[in-house]
C-alpha cells in the first residue's frame, strides 16, 4: 500500500529550480532513504511533503491526503524532525515533551507512557529536568526523534537525522530508526551519507533537484553496475587513481580511504585472460609500492552512486 505518492513535485526559488519535477512512491512500513549531496534538494522536498513549503507545481498524497488541498489532515498523520535541531533550548527535556505531546493531543497516562519511551530511546531517563540546550548533539538528535514520533504518526520524516555525529552514534541512531519502523511507522529519511543507504528498504537518489535513481539497494547494485569492481589496496592511492583513470578499461575510479575502487567497463569472469591483463597493467602502475592487493569486490551503494553521478557530469 502506498504511504506517500509524489507526483511531478517542483519547487522554484525565483529562477532557481531547487526540486525539479520529481515523482516517486513510498510504501507503508518501509524505511525509505532519500539520498543526495548537500544542496541536492532533499530538505526542500521534505518541507513540501510536511506542509512547510508550498510546491511551485505538482502535488503529493501523504497518507492519502493532498499536501496542496488538505494540509491539515496531512499534519495529523506525520511527525517531522528537521535538519536543524528545533526543540526549545530554553525548556527542559520534560517541558519539551509535554508541550509537543500536548499539541498532538496526548494527555494523562498515555502522555506519561510515551514520554517515558522518548526518554528511554534518547538515553535521558531521570534527566528529564535538564535544560535542552545543555545536551550534546547526539542526545539532542535522539530526543528530537523521540519528540517527533511520540504521537506515533503513520509517517515520520527525518531530515538528515545523523548529521554531525560520530559513526558510533550514527549506528545507534539507525538502530532506533529500525525500532520505530518495527512499530509500524513508515520512515522517510534523508541523508548525504551514502553508506547509510544500505540500512534502507528502498532509496532514491537526487542530484541538483532531479531524481536519478530509485530502487532497493540490491536492485540498484544490479541495475547500475553490470561490470566488475576491483578493490586496489596500495599506499599512494591518489597517484594511482590518476594513472588509472586514463586507461581504456576503467569506467570510474574513486578513493575509499586507503583503497581504490575501480569500476571496469565490462563484466569479467574471475579467472579470465582479460582480467589478468588488466591486473598486470595495474601492478605496473603501482609498481614500486609494497603491500599491493587487487581483489574483485561486490559493488557498494557508494560505487553505484558515484558511478551514476559521474556519468551525469
Amino acid at each position: 500500500m502506498k504511504s506517500i505518492e509524489v507526483k511531478n513535485l517542483t519547487k522554484k526559488f525565483g529562477d532557481f529550480i531547487s526540486v525539479n519535477d520529481i515523482s516517486f512512491d513510498v510504501y507503508k512500513g518501509e524505511i525509505f532513504g532519500f539520498l543526495g549531496a548537500n544542496g541536492a534538494g532533499k530538505s526542500t522536498t521534505i518541507k513540501m511533503l510536511c506542509g512547510i513549503l508550498e510546491p511551485t507545481s505538482g502535488d503529493a498524497l501523504v497518507s492519502g491526503f493532498s499536501i496542496d488541498k488538505d494540509p491539515e489532515s496531512v499534519k495529523k498523520n506525520i511527525g517531522y524532525m528537521s535538519q536543524k535541531f528545533s526543540l526549545y533550548g530554553d525548556l527542559t527535556v520534560n517541558e519539551n515533551l509535554n508541550f509537543f505531546g500536548g499539541i498532538y493531543g496526548l494527555e494523562g497516562s498515555i502522555l506519561e507512557k510515551r514520554k517515558d519511551w522518548a526518554l528511554k530511546i534518547s538515553g535521558l531517563e531521570n534527566k528529564g529536568n535538564i535544560l535542552t540546550s545543555t545536551l550534546s548533539v547526539g542526545f539532542k538528535q535522539r530526543l528530537a526523534l523521540g519528540a517527533a514520533v511520540m504521537h506515533e504518526p503513520k509517517i515520520v520524516f527525518l531530515d538528515e537525522p545523523t548529521g554531525g555525529v560520530d559513526p558510533v552514534s550514527r549506528r545507534k541512531f539507525w538502530d532506533l530508526i529500525h525500532e520505530i519502523s518495527d512499530k509500524g511507522m513508515t520512515v522517510f529519511v534523508t541523508t548525504h551519507y551514502l553508506d547509510e543507504a544500505e540500512f534502507c528498504n528502498r532509496i532514491i537518489l537526487i542530484n541538483a533537484g532531479k531524481l536519478i535513481a530509485s530502487g532497493s539497494p540490491a536492485e540498484l547494485k544490479e541495475e547500475f553496475i553490470e561490470s566488475t569492481v576491483l578493490e586496489i589496496v596500495c599506499d599512494d592511492t591518489i597517484a594511482v587513481t590518476e594513472l588509472l583513470s586514463d586507461e581504456d578499461y576503467s569506467q570510474n575510479v574513486s578513493v575509499f580511504g586507503n583503497s581504490i575502487h575501480l569500476i571496469l567497463k565490462k563484466k569479467y569472469s574471475e579467472n579470465s585472460e582479460e582480467l589478468d591483463v588488466i591486473k598486470r597493467s595495474i601492478s605496473e602502475k603501482t609498481g614500486r609500492q609494497d603491500n599491493v592487493k587487487i581483489n574483485i569486490i561486490l559493488p557498494s551503494l557508494e560505487d553505484v552512486f558515484l558511478n551514476l553521478l559521474e556519468k551525469r557530469e
Binding site: 510536511c50 499534519k75 517531522y80 526543540l87 526549545y88 533550548g89 530554553d90 500536548g102 535544560l131
Partner: protein, 376 residues
C-alpha cells in the same frame, strides 16, 4: 483552548528563564520612569540671575526683594558694571540679567515711566519663556502696587473696580510640572516597548531558531499560535502598568484621579494596536536583529514623535498634524492623561477609546491574516 493554555504556559516558562526579557519587562520600566521623571522635570526650580543695580535705591531693592521672594529667581551675581553682567550671561552662569538704571526710583517718584532692562539667554527658548512669564507677573504686581501707593499718597482713594486683574490658576497640574504631564504617558511608552518589541522578538526568535517550522508541522492552528503568543505579553503589559503606576504613586506622588478599572480597560484596548503591530513586524523580519531595528525605528520612534509625547502636536507642520491622527499612542496619551490627571471617565473619553478600538481591531486583523499567510 487546551492547546492555547499549553502555549501560554510554555511562553511563561521561557520568559522566566530569559534574564534579558525579565530586565526589559520589569526593570527597564522602573528605570525609565525614574529617569524620565527627573529628566522631564523641565520646569525651572529657579532661574539663575545676575543683577546690575545702578540705582541702589529703596525702590530698586524693593523690586529685587519681590523677585527673590517669588522663589523663581536666585541672584547669583551682583555686578558692578554692564560688561560683567554680559559676561555672566555669555558664560551661561546665569539665564537672566536684570539692569536697573540709576534713575529708577527718581522716575517713579516723579511719576514718570521707569525702565528696567531684562536680558534672557534664549538658547533654551522654553526655559526663557517660562522665566519671562514669571518676571512679567512680578513686574505687573509691582507696578500696580506702586500705582496704588501713588494714588493713596495723592489722596485719590480709588477702588480698583473696573480694572481687570487676572488671576491665573492652572488646573490639573497646579504646579505646572512637566513631570506630572509626562509620567502618565510613560505607561503608553512602556506598553509599546513590551508589546511591539517583545512580541515581534519572541515570534521571530522562533523562526530563527527553527521551532516555528516545528510548530507549523503540528496540527496547531495559526489562531492558537497568535493567541498563545499575544496573551502572555498582554499579561506582562499589565504587570508593567501596575509597576509604573506604583512608582508614580509612591515615588513621585502622582495619584490616579480616575478609575483604575477604566484605565486597565483602556490599556487593553490600546494593546490591541500595539500587539497587532508587533505581530506585523514579526512577519516582515527574518532575524531578531531586524525585528529589533524595524520595531524601534519604523514603529516606535515615529509613534513617540508623532503622538505628542515628545513634542506638542500644535507646533508641528500642518501636514504632519494630520498624520498624527493615525497614531494610536496619541489617543492613548489623551486617555491616560485624562484618567490620571483629570479623573475623566468613559463619558468624556469614549471618542478616543472608540477610535483606539477600531484602529486596534483593524491592525490586529490585518497582521493576523498576514501572519497566517506567511505560515502557509
Amino acid at each position: 483552548m487546551k492547546i492555547i493554555r499549553l502555549f501560554i504556559n510554555k511562553e511563561f516558562r521561557q520568559f522566566l528563564r530569559d534574564p534579558k526579557m525579565f530586565v526589559i519587562v520589569l526593570i527597564a520600566p522602573i528605570i525609565q520612569l525614574v529617569f524620565l521623571g527627573y529628566a522631564a522635570n523641565r520646569d525651572l526650580n529657579y532661574v539663575n540671575t545676575a543683577v546690575y543695580d545702578m540705582d541702589k535705591s529703596g525702590k530698586s531693592r524693593e523690586l529685587l526683594r519681590d523677585m527673590e521672594g517669588s522663589g523663581f529667581f536666585k541672584f547669583n551675581d551682583f555686578t558692578a558694571n554692564y560688561d560683567d553682567l554680559e559676561k555672566a550671561l555669555d558664560d551661561g552662569r546665569v539665564l537672566c540679567g536684570i539692569v536697573i538704571p540709576d534713575d529708577f526710583e527718581k522716575n517713579i517718584m516723579n511719576r514718570r515711566t521707569a525702565d528696567i532692562q531684562i536680558i534672557f539667554d534664549g538658547s533654551d527658548g522654553n526655559k526663557a519663556s517660562i522665566a519671562s512669564g514669571y518676571i512679567l507677573n512680578i513686574l505687573n504686581n509691582f507696578s500696580s502696587e506702586i500705582t496704588a501707593e501713588i494714588q493713596e499718597r495723592s489722596g485719590l482713594k480709588r477702588s480698583l473696580a473696573g480694572m481687570i486683574i487676572p488671576e491665573t490658576r492652572v488646573w490639573y497640574n497646579p504646579n505646572l510640572t512637566t513631570r506630572n504631564f509626562m509620567l502618565p504617558s510613560i505607561v503608553g511608552l512602556i506598553l509599546i516597548i513590551i508589546t511591539i518589541n517583545m512580541t515581534s522578538l519572541a515570534i521571530v526568535k522562533e523562526r530563527e531558531v527553527g521551532t516555528l517550522e516545528q510548530l507549523i508541522v503540528t496540527p496547531i492552528k495559526p489562531y492558537q499560535m497568535i493567541v498563545g503568543k499575544l496573551v502572555p505579553f498582554t499579561i506582562l503589559g499589565f504587570v508593567s502598568i501596575i509597576l509604573v503606576l506604583s512608582v508614580m504613586r509612591f515615588w513621585f506622588g502622582i495619584e490616579v484621579k480616575g478609575s483604575l478599572t477604566f484605565l486597565f480597560v483602556c490599556s487593553f484596548v490600546f494593546m490591541l494596536s500595539t500587539l497587532g503591530l508587533g505581530l506585523f513586524v514579526s512577519t516582515i523580519s527574518r532575524t531578531q536583529q531586524q525585528a529589533m531595528i524595524t520595531s524601534a525605528f519604523l514603529v516606535i520612534m515615529p509613534m513617540i514623535f508623532l503622538s505628542g509625547f515628545a513634542f506638542p502636536i500644535d507646533s508641528m507642520p500642518e501636514a504632519i498634524q494630520y498624520l498624527t491622527y493615525l497614531i494610536p499612542l496619541k489617543y492613548f496619551i489623551t486617555i491616560i492623561r485624562g484618567i490620571v490627571l483629570k479623573g475623566l471617565g468613559f463619558s468624556e473619553l469614549w471618542k478616543d477609546l472608540l477610535t483606539l478600538f477600531l484602529m486596534g481591531a483593524a491592525i490586529l486583523t490585518v497582521s493576523s491574516l498576514r501572519f497566517r499567510k506567511k505560515l502557509e
